[in-house]
Symmetry: C2
Subunit: 356 residues, 2 copies
């Protein structure tokens, strides 16, 4: 059965400011030592399973040129630009009708564009298994992540060991972000995975789910589908898409559907949620620092210093993040990295929008 991939790349990624900007979000940045951007790594990672001509990128017009630049081998018609962000359900629906227009029964692998994976081999094996499960019937397959600490920032997938299908287990339920105590219980229990937003299904299966659980959205999607390949497409898209229900696929479909299976993805996943992640991902020096660029450190430990051409000299710092760019420098404690969005709010308020 033909395999396709939908890579979701419409996110803003404010948490990587000042490296990320409104016109250059996280998925288009290189945060690893290999110099490849997040979206390039994502496409490369799925390439053993999916031909580049069957890879679709869901994004918006602002990022069309970035996608073209960073993925020159991708057919331009595979860049699907949403007229407006409507959360993941309409995004996936748009991808599904594009795939279905060519092949109703193709397998569809849905991936975020801005996560990192340590082992591409295990990733490939896991998704090959997920495709097998998806092919075997009207199954929705989600690849979860085995938790290794009680994270309270992710949703969890509860599965049951009693119901196994191939390498997967039946999902009992999806649960929202827990408090710390509950997260600890999930970790202890051993049948909870982090919901990483990675899915595999037959195109016909997910469209049937839209029909059943999000019927008005389904109607809109069908109109868009009919227009694909015609001169009317852009007009229909701009008319219909903004009216689709703004909803996550988790809430709109996964929490309501049956026949959901999950596989544990043990391939070294990181959602690279903030600059803190760079301290985990990149190689640390003997002082626990991650240092790049023109930097001199004195008595500096456990810091992330992303310099550029300009000299950055640090003295006595502990657990600090420094990110230097051409026009802006961020200096934040690791502990308060979540407050970077307040900088952006302040810049908006004071009219310094050139830095956003």
């Amino acid at each position: 059965m033909k395999k396709t991939a939908l890579i979701m790349a419409g996110g803003k990624g404010e948490r990587f400011w000042p490296r990320s900007r409104v016109n250059l979000p996280k998925q288009f940045l290189s945060l690893t030592d290999d110099g490849k951007t997040m979206i390039q790594l994502t496409v490369e990672r799925i390439s053993p399973l999916v031909d580049i001509k069957d890879v679709y990128i869901a994004t918006n017009e602002n990022y069309r040129e970035l996608v073209k630049q960073q993925l020159p081998n991708l057919p331009e018609k595979n860049i699907l630009c949403e007229p407006i962000g409507r959360n993941t359900a309409p995004c996936i629906g748009l991808g599904a009708v594009h795939v279905a227009k060519k092949d109703e029964d193709a397998i569809m692998i849905v991936l975020p564009s801005d996560h990192l994976i340590k082992s591409n081999d295990i990733f490939k094996e896991t998704f090959a298994n997920a495709c097998d499960i998806a092919e075997q019937g009207p199954n929705l397959v989600t690849v979860g992540i085995t938790p290794n600490y009680p994270e309270t920032g992710y949703g969890y997938i509860k599965y049951t060991k009693d119901n196994k299908l191939g390498e997967s287990y039946a999902v009992e339920k999806f649960v929202e972000k827990p408090d710390l105590q509950t997260a600890k219980e999930y970790l202890e229990d051993g049948t909870y995975l982090w919901n990483s937003g990675m899915f595999v299904w037959k195109t016909s299966t997910i469209l049937d789910c839209f029909k059943e659980f999000m019927s008005s959205t389904y109607e809109g999607l069908l109109k868009i589908k009919d227009s694909i390949g015609t001169e009317e497409y852009q007009k229909v898209l701009e008319t219909e898409f903004p009216n689709l229900e703004s909803q996550s696929v988790d809430y709109g479909i996964m929490e309501k559907a049956s026949n959901i299976y999950t596989l544990a993805g043990n391939f070294g996943w990181d959602d690279v949620g903030s600059w803190l992640a760079v301290g985990r991902i990149k190689e640390n020096d003997s002082q626990g620092n991650v240092v790049n660029g023109n930097v001199v450190t004195v008595n500096t430990k456990d810091c992330v210093i992303e310099g550029s051409d300009k000299l950055i000299a640090t003295v006595g710092l502990r657990d600090i993040i420094v990110v230097d760019t051409k026009d802006a420098t961020l200096i934040s404690t690791k502990e308060n990295a979540g407050e970077i969005k307040k900088v952006l709010a302040s810049l908006r308020e004071s009219g310094k929008t050139q830095y956003l």
Copy 2:
């Protein structure tokens, strides 16, 4: 009696890197909100007592142009360039022979060029009194600073209340930088002042002291004196000056001479020894920060942030110093500000001398 001033401005001031550089040391920087440089403030402060044509600046050839630019009204011949730094005694000797060449009996006020004073009125009054004492005989007058905490980084002047001359007291001895316990005892005792390196004497008095306590230096100084105003001056200076004994005036003369008097300078003195001082001197905002330039602060307290055109955004910082310049940015804890010199050492070692 005519009053003259010798302002010592040959220092390197590495502690204000990256704002200060080898070609722009601290005395030529503005560290206050009024935009005036340290040396400009020093000249302005002494102007009620000394005419600008009687002000001498001791510096070296590297800084001659800076002195000319910053003090355009100063006669150029009053810029005394030492061929090599030989500590304060030869520097003061050079100033003394220049003054003596014009007037053997002029009063000579010796001042550092890189200290700050809060009250210019009290400063003027104190030095007017010091001049009176100096005029009354072969007296060496030093203006000390009443200590308000047990500083271990300065030398102290011990005076005796039993022997008063005008507004001054006889100095019993000069003492080296004490340990903390000793500094506390000095503070408690009440007859110790910080040695700030500010002196007043008749030119003939200090030259007599050179003759008595630093005789070979005195011989060299006389040769230089003879050449002043002749075509031979530069050649004689370059021959004689490097052979003068490299010695501080404190050790070479003050610790050996008698007839030393001191006045307590209670005019709000600060030697502006490091970026920490800027947090004391400049106005703090409601969060205890001193912020200049294009800066956005979020949850930032008790920091000194000297920005420039480039945006600096800080998040979660406490007691941090940030100094941004065109080609280099310093980020240091206040606690470790003394280690900034290690940055300079590292730059020297790695050949990045363009940043020094």
